[in-house]
């Protein structure tokens, strides 16, 4: 990267990290919510 490797690759690394978090966190949160709601609904109808 013509001497600018640190700046360019760090930028792309931050991009990758932020995008990864924005993919993983909502999906993990969704799974947890579904499990919590399923448990609550199961308890309501024994």
């Amino acid at each position: 990267m013509g001497g600018f490797a640190f700046y360019v690759w760090t930028s792309y690394a931050i991009f990758a990290a932020i995008f990864a978090w924005n993919v993983i966190q909502p999906l993990v949160h969704r799974r947890r919510v579904r499990e919590r709601l399923a448990r609550r609904l199961r308890r309501m109808q024994p």
Partner: protein, 260 residues
Amino acid sequence: MAQREAVIPATTTRRLWTWFHRLASPRYFYELAGRLIPWFGWAAAVLLAAGLYGGLWLAPPDYQQGDAYRIIFIHVPAAWMSLFAYVAMAGAGFIGLVWRIKLAEVVARACAPLGASFTLLALCTGSLWGKPMWGAYWVWDARLTSELVLLFLYLGYIALDAAIEDRRKAARATSVLALVGVVDIPIIHYSVEWWHTLHQGPTVFKLGGPSISLDMLVPLLLMVVAFKLFFFAMMLVRARTEVLEREVNSAWVREVVGEP
């Protein structure tokens, strides 16, 4: 004056209106969004790959900045999306505030973490680009400062939302915050014209058309579209999850959640 003739037939207007009404229904939104998310997501992935390939491999080095300019393929899409997400958030908030549509409140809330992420990304990549080019990681120029303010607006929005338990009160408060802060958007956009800034002026959206070379412009636009599709995909994921939580007492949620 002669009787006015409808330019759009009444049936089309009625169908559009009906569709908007249905869209406000949480259940319909949940199902529609569920079908759209994979399309947005995979399209985003493909365009990201194409944009990254075009920007990192195909595009030549810049005659002034060498390879450092390649940060543009992250920085500009992130910055544009930071503005877009805020306008979407404020717009949805406005609709929720005025028409009391729950789904608008849900969508507004879903925009916030993504908008904050894009703003942070724009600031970090801008800083990393500024150090080799300007010699400084940060300057208090109008564009950088107003974008930093945008980050504070997003974080303030998220914090305010977390601080209020009642969802409808939280939506009202955050919508007001979003609307008050929306003035920052034109400030950010026009900052490079209104003030003497270190940050460069418009290169794409200006009179006379873009002055950036085509082999750099194409990957840039691919990344812009990719970021937009990514935003829609993950915003809808967040919104759908909140819809499940809010509508938990409905029969349809019981069905959805009951499935493994």
